[in-house]
């Protein structure tokens, strides 16, 4: 897949403070989650990608073009900033309409697109109210509307769900997923892991200005040798299952659940373990209710890599 965004040796610092350091990254179409703790460099990266900042070293291109000082590229980019900012004396309608006109649409089309964008984020009914009268969540949705009104090919969202109520969180996440399904590129930054997980399995993990990991969550998890995988099995006879598994070399440790109906196994060879488990289940006839991997998720990846 052709990379839409390409960063090469990208570095940015603010005086003595490092923003990002030596980032080499390619992002193709689809949804990519940009995650990391506060101050990791996510916003800095997105601001460079959105042409708000210039790289100190290296380069970042979108569709093969530099971003800063290249206004034409913004026909294809949508950016939702993290700052709670707006022209508070304008109404929501005036604000979106202004941006639509600046995107090059004539009055009629700008009006239609503005209406559609506001409807998408649920602000059509409050469109004539001044933005200073909007709640935090409404202003967040308005910023989202400003980034999608021209249906850009690449959408960059910096903490798009901050302050949004649970109902609209689900709707916005669905909107982002729909965008990804259309073949567009979406880069979503957040430090709230379940949100990212709900939208995509492709992640870029940033910490202290550097990329710690990139790719599919599960594949990354598989690469983390220093932390054995946990597999939790819920069944009627966990101790019997444990007896069978205890002799396997790739089983490092086992814990029984307090309710006496579950067994958590730690293994450093997941594939071998599952092969053995399936065979054991077939041979022993133990009835299995549920098998889960408690740490095959983003939180675990995040914790293990960031070193908590």
């Amino acid at each position: 897949m052709t990379a839409v965004l390409k960063a090469e040796k990208l570095s940015k610092w603010y005086g003595n403070i490092l923003g990002i350091s030596d980032i080499n990254l390619e992002i193709a179409s689809g949804i990519t989650g940009l995650l990391g703790p506060n101050g990791a460099g996510k916003s800095t990266f997105l601001k460079i990608a959105a042409g708000q900042l210039k790289p100190k070293l290296g380069s970042l291109t979108l569709f093969g073009q530099p971003v800063f000082g290249n206004p034409d590229i913004f026909r294809r980019i949508g950016f939702c900033p993290e700052h709670d900012s707006a022209y508070s004396e304008m109404s929501g309608w005036q604000f979106i309409l202004l941006l639509a006109r600046l995107h090059g649409f004539d009055r009629r089309e700008a009006g239609e697109r503005s209406e559609k964008a506001l409807l998408t984020v649920g602000l059509l009914e409050s469109k004539d109210r001044q933005i200073k009268g909007y709640s935090f969540g409404m202003r967040q949705r308005l910023r989202l509307a400003s980034s999608i009104l021209h249906e850009p090919e690449i959408l960059m969202l910096d903490e798009p769900l901050r302050g949004v109520d649970p109902l609209w969180r689900i709707k916005i996440m669905q909107l982002i997923k729909d965008y990804g399904k259309q073949g567009r590129t979406v880069i979503v930054s957040s430090h709230i892991l379940p949100e990212i997980e709900a939208m995509t399995s492709e992640i870029v993990l940033i910490h202290q200005g550097k990329i710690f990991a990139k790719g599919d969550i599960h594949r990354i998890r598989g690469l983390i040798d220093s932390h054995p995988h946990q597999v939790s099995i819920r069944c009627q006879e966990p101790r019997r299952l444990a007896q069978e598994l205890i002799d396997c070399d790739f089983v490092l440790s086992m814990d029984f659940g307090l309710d006496g109906r579950s067994l958590t196994v730690k293994t450093n060879q997941r594939d071998l373990f599952f092969t053995a488990l399936i065979r054991l289940i077939a041979e022993s006839g133990v009835e299995i209710e549920e098998i889960t991997s408690p740490d095959d998720n983003l939180q675990a990846v995040f914790d293990y890599l960031i070193g908590k």
């Binding site: 603010y14 959105a50 042409g51 708000q52 900042l53 210039k54 800063f68 000082g69 206004p71 034409d72 590229i73 913004f74 026909r75 980019i77 949508g78 950016f79 900033p81 700052h83 709670d84 900012s85 707006a86 022209y87 508070s88 004396e89 304008m90 005036q94 202004l98 941006l99 006109r101 600046l102 995107h103 090059g104 649409f105 004539d106 400003s146 021209h150 249906e151």
Partner: protein, 264 residues
Amino acid sequence: MNMKKQNALPVIFTSFFQSGFKAKRTRVFILLSLIPVLLMLVMRILEASGSQAPGSSSDFFARVMLSLYFQLLIPVLALFFGSTIVNEELDNKTLVYLTTVPVRRRTVLLGKYLAAFLLAVLLIGCGFLLCFLAASLTRLGDPSAWEELGIFLGTSLLALFCYSALFTALGAFMKKSILIGLFFVFGWESVVQYFPGVTQKFTIIHWIKSLLPVPPGEGGFLIFQLQPSPPLESVLVLLVAGLLFLALAVFIFERKEYILSDNA
């Protein structure tokens, strides 16, 4: 998606002119620019009642223009409107919306500048006109009165243009532009006026005063050594300086990266 290249300049100009016009602070500036009108009316009433010598109001008009408009309101309004073109976007963190659209940064700056400039012109122009009417009610048929008004209006346009262009460049370059601007106008320009020779030419006010009809009996409360330059030279210098400052503002704004901090 079929996007025609619409001209963004009128869109930006219209939007920011409307929001500037409706802003609360504009009402304050309107009130301020009407205070000289009030003074003119007082003067006219006194002249009509015989408390003041006939013709005093015309003399007074020139003094009011110089003292209140050219030495105070025009530079201060230009400073406020000029420096807030970029700085207000930074303070409110709304610059991102204007720089993530397919519009050249220079168009954004020029659109906002024109809106601010027109607003300032309207504020000052209305005050001027009303002052003139108050001062010259009995000599409206006299072409020289209208000529005087023309000179004042024309000079005020040039003054606003030059000052606002300078402060737009200052505002594009630095955040604390208001204080620097105040030091320039009321520090540098005030002090240098007292110096003879070419030093005065390193101020904008010198060229402005060179265009104005100096009231008789000058030296009362306006003590300075004015060695006026020729009017044509003054007009050219103000125009060229204004254009250069504006070009500098565009140059800075197109190239500078603005880091939106969380500080006020």
